[in-house]
Structure formats: structure tokens, C-alpha cells
């Protein structure tokens, strides 16, 4: 079983991360790339399209994208553009993004300008959730998204299909949530690095297949104890679009365990949003998605902080490490707020600027190492 687990975890790192998407295409299906955890995959899947969450290439050389995107712009988007320009994403039939950040919109602008895709749709995601007006508008945006998909695929998205798709995704998120529960234990079944790899695999797969695999693996995980350098201190990582497990490996190699991560490829994907019984599937999804733990771009920083503090308690976190992309403005603006709030609660924290690809390793290792040492000292 251990071998099966490792194979599953490593599947999208060692092999072709696009193999599931390409297989779906071979069978005659369509694949849409998506950016932002605010785009409900449920609707796309209900339309018979494989929603594929985009990741960029983890390479330092981004010479093609650099022509269109200056150095002082979001690294994640730049690396995704590089993947487009190198032809890595030629299999995509379309792209759906949320206007979560203008840098993402600028990425779409370049893709359209260079005619890399014919179908690109931008969903407006309200940055606040203070009134039902926002939910209604977002629900309409999701309805429009469904119509666009229908036009593209020339097939109707039936409401019952959306409800079925919601059930499927809820099942997946519940399974992933149970792994988060296991990570609360003294010796978690997976290291932070392993968990991120598992998330990458799940994200790259067809979700019904991912559920089958997770159901097989889960009973084993209940018994498993991860092979860790240290079971203390316990660390939470805060980031946004970071998805390179090498960063988590670097942190854990300094002698700690990452048991929680607030980022797109982490709890923000898994978070089982509050259930509501709306009969309109678009309203239901709009409300659920707007209520979930938000990204730095949302106007819900206080609520986000509450969640982070709850996780600190539930996961018995000793320290928080923020890995911020240098030119990601939402992260950079939010960091001083988070730092102040964490310090007020006497929770040790440190924020580091990082690149999307794994670089500046030596300096990062020294600084993170010093922080982990201070956490160990504190525990003693």
C-alpha cells in the first residue's frame, strides 16, 4: 500500500501532469484551464468539460513570457504564460478565470492577443460579501459562465447535472478534509510536502477517479505515520498560488513539520463551504464560494484572520511562515496586517519573499532555518 500511496502522491510530479487531461481529450472531451479557487469547477464539470487548474512551469528560464510581462508582475501568471508560449498547454480548449487580480486579467489579455486560445471567459468575483446583492450578482455571473460553456460545447447544462456535480465535489472535499483532520495528530500521516504533492495529483485528475483513489488510500493513511525529520515544531504556511513542493520540503528539512497551509493548493480548495439549501444551483454555489476562506484580494481580512487563529489552535501550530511572491500585491499588502495580528496573539511568524519557481534557496534556507531554531528554543 505504501508503494501505491507514493505512486499516487508523485503522479503529477514525476509523470506528465497533463496525462489525465490529455486522456480526457483523446476520449473526445474538452478541457478548460481555470485560475482561481473562486471558479466553481462544479459548473464546468456539469457541462461535461474537464476543469483543469493551471500551474505554471517551475523553471527559472521564462524568456518567452518576459517579452510580455515585466519583472515587476505576478510570477505565477508569468510562469503560466511561459507554459502557454512553449506549447505545453496547447491541449486546452479554453480558459476560465476570476478577476481576482488585474495581473490575471493581463495574462488573459496576452493570451487573447497572441491568439493562443479562442475561448476565454472572465468571471467577476465580488471582493466583498456584505449583502445579498453581491451573492445575486455572482450567481448571475455563474449563470453566464454556464451559458458560455453551453455555447462552446453546444450542449445544455441541466440543473440536475449541476447538483450531481456539487455532490461529487463535496465528496472529494470531504475526503480531503479527513486528511486535514488526520494532520492534527501528533504524528501526521503525511508530511507537508507529501500533502501538497497529493493535492497536485488530485487537482490534475478527473475528480471521480481521484475519489476512487482517495477512498483506497484513506484507510491506510489512518494508520500511517509520515517519515518526518521532526514532529515538532508544527508549522503553518501562508501563501497564495505557491504550488512547488520544494518549498515545503525546504522548510521541513530544517527540522519541523508543516501541518497546515492556507493557500490555493491547500485548505482553500478543500474548505467545505457552509451548506445552504438554495434551490437555484447558481445561487447555492455563489453563496458557498463567497463564504469560503478568502484570498488576500478579498475584503475579508478579519474573517480570514479568525480562521487562521482557529487553525493555529486546532492544529497546535508553533509558528507561521508566510511565503509571499515578491510582486503579488494582495499578499504583500495583507502581510503587515497578518503579522500584526499574529504578533498580538504572540504567535511567532515570519514572512519571506519567494519566486514561483524554486530559487534563492541558500538564503531562504538560512533564514527559515533560523526561524525554525527559534521555534524549537521556544518549545524547550
Amino acid at each position: 500500500m505504501e508503494k501505491k500511496l507514493i505512486n499516487f502522491i508523485e503522479a503529477s510530479i514525476k509523470g506528465d501532469k497533463y496525462k489525465w487531461a490529455k486522456y480526457w481529450k483523446q476520449k473526445g472531451g474538452k478541457v478548460f484551464g481555470i485560475i482561481s479557487s473562486y471558479i466553481p469547477e462544479e459548473i464546468i464539470w456539469a457541462g461535461g468539460v474537464f476543469p483543469f487548474r493551471l500551474r505554471g512551469m517551475w523553471k527559472e528560464n521564462i524568456e518567452l513570457a518576459r517579452i510580455y510581462r515585466p519583472e515587476n508582475s505576478c510570477d505565477f501568471c508569468t510562469h503560466i504564460l511561459e507554459s502557454f508560449l512553449r506549447g505545453e498547454l496547447d491541449f486546452l480548449d479554453g480558459l476560465i478565470v476570476g478577476d481576482i487580480d488585474q495581473d490575471v486579467i493581463r495574462l488573459v489579455d496576452v493570451i487573447l492577443y497572441l491568439k493562443k486560445l479562442n475561448f476565454c471567459h472572465i468571471v467577476h468575483v465580488p471582493f466583498v460579501f456584505t449583502s445579498d446583492i453581491h451573492v445575486q450578482y455572482y450567481a448571475n455571473e455563474l449563470r453566464k459562465l454556464a451559458e458560455k460553456i453551453e455555447e462552446n460545447t453546444r450542449s445544455e447544462i441541466k440543473e440536475e447535472n449541476i447538483f450531481r456535480s456539487i455532490e461529487l465535489y463535496d465528496k472529494l472535499r470531504n475526503l480531503l478534509s479527513s486528511i486535514y483532520e488526520m494532520r492534527k495528530s501528533d504524528q501526521p500521516p503525511l508530511s507537508g510536502e507529501e500533502f501538497l504533492k497529493l493535492m497536485l495529483t488530485v487537482n490534475a485528475m478527473l475528480k471521480n477517479e481521484a475519489i476512487v483513489e482517495l477512498e483506497k488510500i484513506l484507510p491506510y493513511l489512518y494508520k500511517r505515520k509520515a517519515n518526518l525529520k521532526a514532529i515538532y515544531p508544527r508549522v503553518m504556511v501562508l501563501s497564495e498560488d505557491l504550488d512547488n513542493p520544494a518549498y515545503i520540503e525546504l522548510i521541513e528539512n530544517e527540522g519541523c513539520v508543516v501541518v497546515m497551509e492556507d493557500m490555493e493548493m491547500g485548505i482553500r480548495y478543500v474548505d467545505t463551504f457552509p451548506f445552504n439549501e438554495a434551490k437555484d444551483p447558481f445561487y447555492l454555489l455563489a453563496k458557498r464560494y463567497l463564504q469560503k476562506h478568502g484570498s488576500a484580494r478579498m475584503g475579508t481580512w478579519n474573517k480570514q484572520m479568525e480562521n487562521i487563529l482557529n487553525w493555529v489552535k486546532e492544529f497546535r501550530i508553533d509558528g507561521v511562515i508566510g511565503l509571499l511572491f515578491s510582486w503579488c500585491y494582495p499578499q504583500q499588502y495583507r502581510a503587515p496586517f497578518l503579522q500584526k495580528k499574529l504578533e498580538e496573539k504572540e504567535i511567532p511568524c515570519m514572512f519571506f519573499d519567494v519566486s514561483y519557481c524554486f530559487s534563492n534557496v541558500a538564503q531562504l534556507k538560512t533564514r527559515i532555518g533560523a526561524f525554525i531554531t527559534s521555534l524549537k528554543e521556544k518549545r524547550r
Binding site: 488573459v108 489579455d109 496576452v110 446583492i133 450578482y137 484580494r297 475584503g299 504583500q332 499588502y333
Partner: protein, 426 residues
């Protein structure tokens, strides 16, 4: 701290404007409009009003100038106008340092998103009683609002501005504005805050007249030589808070430009190159003189508020009669910053063609997420569709560490000369 150092921004600004007025009287710059005298008087009047309101403890509103600036004014709030203040300060570094000390990404961000809050914390601007945080412009501007809401403990009301421009979007923003009115009336009941539709209609009418005057100016910019340039062009591109005095100034400005056109007077002698300047400019220097030295005149300033007055196709996007609140919503949706690239680049190309622009200076301000990712597209399209060159000029608004006066001046002069060579003049 001595008395001079204790003076706040508006006290210092009044002195600065009075000196400008004196200079204008003693030795007017023939390139600049005489109507600027009225502008300075208007600004002095506004600054004095703010000082009075500050002293009397009247409620201030801030943020979202295009979103709800007119509405809050009609409700009885005094607009704090902090972004304008940041453009005019004499001590920018003090505020940038203050924001940096708070841990904000000063080096990476647009100076305008960093300074207003710092100016308030330093006691140089009044803290607003209510801030409107919205996304009508750019991500950093919105983030600045969120930051102030949570870190600065400023009372903040969030208004979401959608991505698309259409009637549904107007309804959506108008609905939120109505909720804002209810909220603000409740919250500031004892301070006399009340929605006054008559007042709003009056302000909107003045605003319409200002826009109409600006449209007339736009048509006159087609003249060769261009009747205005540089600083005066930037003044037309900015946002002006509607008032009778503001309208008086704008109408006088329009008349003076008409006179110049009739007499064939240009902003610079012997205009050879007509330039569009985009986004923003360095405020620590005069970027126009290095250009005018070579006969290059900045005839048009392209920025977000262009969407409220320049007559490019699709600007009036609504298809029905709008109520006063809906008109405010439509204004918020008219800002060109930070929406789709098409919405930024198409009108730019259209205006360049319409005004027979010879070159673009695209100011690549560090931290301007709204525009940086479009630089190459602008450059390629301008070259392919219009056959004109683009200078990608890097820099900030106040921070000189990226590019100082010397570097910028050299680039501008070189660009002007290359344009002359391309036109076969040099």
C-alpha cells in the same frame, strides 16, 4: 518640532498655491493657460473648506472619488481628497518612509496607494470618517482601502464594481449605493448626513457641463499646433470635484483654448511631434521641457478618467435613461483603469488616430498592475496599426530610486530626437 513643521498639508498647500498665483501675476508662462489662475483660486477655496471642516469636526469621506465622490458630497460629507494631496505634497519621502515602516510594500507599489494613509497618520491630512473602498480602478488602490479598513481602523464601506460595463452592472452598483446611503444616514445621523437628491442632481448637472466642456477641448486638441500641452493637458485628464467655481474655471479654460485655436497659438513654439502620455508621470520633475526642447508636445494624457469624457466609441455604454443614483454608478463604471486590456488599449489607439498622435510615452510605473502587463501590446499595436513608436519609460511618481530626473530627461530627449529622425526632420 517648530511651528513651520507643525503645519499640515492643507496649510502648506494654501501657501504654495498663493505663491503660484503671485508668480502667475508677475511673470506668466506664455505656454500655460491663464485660466489656471481660477484653478489655483478654486483649490485654495477647497483647501480652506477642508481646514474649516477639520476644525469644526465635520464628517469627512474619502476613497472612490469616481465611485461615490459626488454622492457623498451631496449627502453632506466633506471630501478629504487624499490622493490629490499626495500628488501635491512637498514632503513625499516622509510619507513613503512612514508607510515602509508599517511594513507596506512601498518599493514595489504605486506611490499614490501608499502616501494618503501615511499623510493621515502623520497628522497632515484629516482622517476620513468614512472611507469607500472599491475596485473601480486598480488592485493596489482597492488593497490600500482594505488595508486601511483593517489596519488603520478607518470606518470603511465596501462597494464592489463589476468587470463588465452594461445596464446590469449599473443596477448592481446603484443597489449598493442605495444600501450605502441607508447605512451612512444611520451612522452619521447626529452629524446631519442626509441624502439630498436635489443636491445630487445639481452636482451631476455641473459634472455633465464639465464633461461637455472637456469634450469641446478634446475636439480642439486636433488642431495643429495643439493649443495646449504638458501640465495643462494633465489637468484636463484629472478628476475635478463638481462645484460652481469648478465649472466657472473649466468654462474659462475652454474659452481660452478656443481663443488660442482662433489665433493659431500652440502650447510650444514650432510643434513638430504630437505625443500621447499614458498612466501617470514623475511628480518630482518637469518631464515636458526635455520634450519641448525638440518640438515635441504632449497633446493628450491617457489615464483612467478618460472614460468619463473622451469621445471614443462605446464610452456611453448604457442603453436607458438613468436615475441620479444610476448616473453615479455609471460614472464609477466608466473608469478605464484595470479592466480588460481591450478596454484600455482600444480607446488609446482610437484617440491616437483621431488626434494624429506621432508617438506614445507609456509610463511604466512600478507597481501599476493595471497597465504594466499591457506595455508590449500597446507598443506592437501602435507600431502595426498606426506606424508610431512607443517609449517605455520606467519610473515612479515620487520615489526617485528607480529613475531620477537625469535619467528620465535623457530618455525623453533621445526619444524626441529619434522621432524627429523617423519623421525625416532631424
Amino acid at each position: 518640532m517648530d511651528f513651520l513643521e507643525r503645519a499640515n498639508f492643507y496649510e502648506n498647500y494654501i501657501l504654495k498655491l498663493q505663491k503660484r498665483l503671485e508668480r502667475l501675476k508677475e511673470s506668466p508662462d506664455p505656454r500655460r493657460l491663464k485660466a489656471n489662475k481660477l484653478r489655483y483660486e478654486l483649490e485654495i477655496e477647497e483647501a480652506k473648506e477642508i481646514l474649516r471642516a477639520w476644525k469644526e469636526g465635520k464628517p469627512f469621506s474619502n476613497g472612490g472619488d469616481l465611485t461615490a465622490g459626488i454622492l457623498t458630497k451631496a449627502m453632506g460629507f466633506t471630501p478629504a481628497g487624499s490622493v490629490g494631496a499626495a500628488f501635491q505634497t512637498l514632503t513625499p519621502q516622509k510619507y513613503l518612509d512612514h508607510a515602509a515602516a508599517r511594513g507596506l510594500p512601498v518599493e514595489k507599489s504605486c506611490d499614490m496607494t501608499m502616501m494618503p494613509f501615511a499623510m493621515m497618520e502623520c497628522g497632515d491630512l484629516p482622517f476620513e470618517d468614512i472611507a469607500i473602498c472599491d475596485n473601480h480602478a486598480c488592485t493596489p488602490m482597492m488593497l490600500r482601502g482594505i488595508y486601511m479598513a483593517y489596519k488603520g481602523e478607518v470606518h470603511t464601506y465596501f462597494i464592489d464594481i463589476p468587470f463588465e460595463q452594461n445596464d446590469d452592472a449599473i443596477t448592481y452598483v446603484a443597489d449598493q449605493l442605495r444600501e450605502f446611503i441607508e447605512y451612512a444616514e444611520r451612522k452619521f445621523k447626529d452629524k446631519g448626513i442626509k441624502y439630498d437628491e436635489e443636491k445630487l442632481v445639481e452636482l451631476l448637472e455641473i459634472n455633465d457641463k464639465i464633461q461637455k466642456a472637456n469634450e469641446e477641448v478634446y475636439e480642439m486638441l486636433k488642431n495643429k499646433p495643439c493649443p495646449i500641452g504638458g501640465y495643462d493637458v494633465f489637468l484636463i485628464g484629472g478628476i475635478i470635484s463638481p462645484s460652481k467655481k469648478a465649472l466657472e474655471y473649466v468654462q474659462a479654460r475652454t474659452e481660452e483654448i478656443k481663443e488660442r485655436v482662433d489665433k493659431g497659438i500652440g502650447a510650444i513654439p514650432d510643434e513638430k511631434i504630437r505625443i500621447m502620455w499614458t498612466t501617470t508621470r514623475p511628480f518630482f520633475m518637469d518631464p515636458f521641457s526635455p520634450l519641448s526642447k525638440w518640438g515635441a508636445n504632449v497633446c493628450f494624457y491617457y489615464a483612467g478618467p478618460v472614460g468619463t469624457w473622451a469621445p471614443f466609441p462605446g464610452r456611453i455604454f448604457w442603453k436607458r435613461e438613468l436615475s441620479p443614483i444610476e448616473k453615479v454608478a455609471a460614472l464609477a463604471l466608466s473608469d478605464q483603469w484595470g479592466h480588460s486590456g481591450t478596454r484600455w488599449v482600444e480607446p488609446m489607439i482610437w484617440i491616437c488616430r483621431d488626434l494624429e498622435i506621432d508617438a506614445i510615452i507609456n509610463y511604466n510605473m512600478v507597481g501599476c498592475v493595471a497597465t504594466l502587463g499591457l506595455r508590449k501590446i500597446i507598443e506592437e499595436r501602435a507600431e502595426k496599426e498606426l506606424g508610431i513608436p512607443t517609449l517605455q519609460l520606467e519610473g515612479k511618481q515620487w520615489d526617485k530610486r528607480y529613475a531620477d530626473e537625469k535619467i528620465i530627461s535623457e530618455k525623453l530627449e533621445t526619444f524626441a530626437q529619434l522621432c524627429l529622425i523617423q519623421k525625416g526632420i532631424l
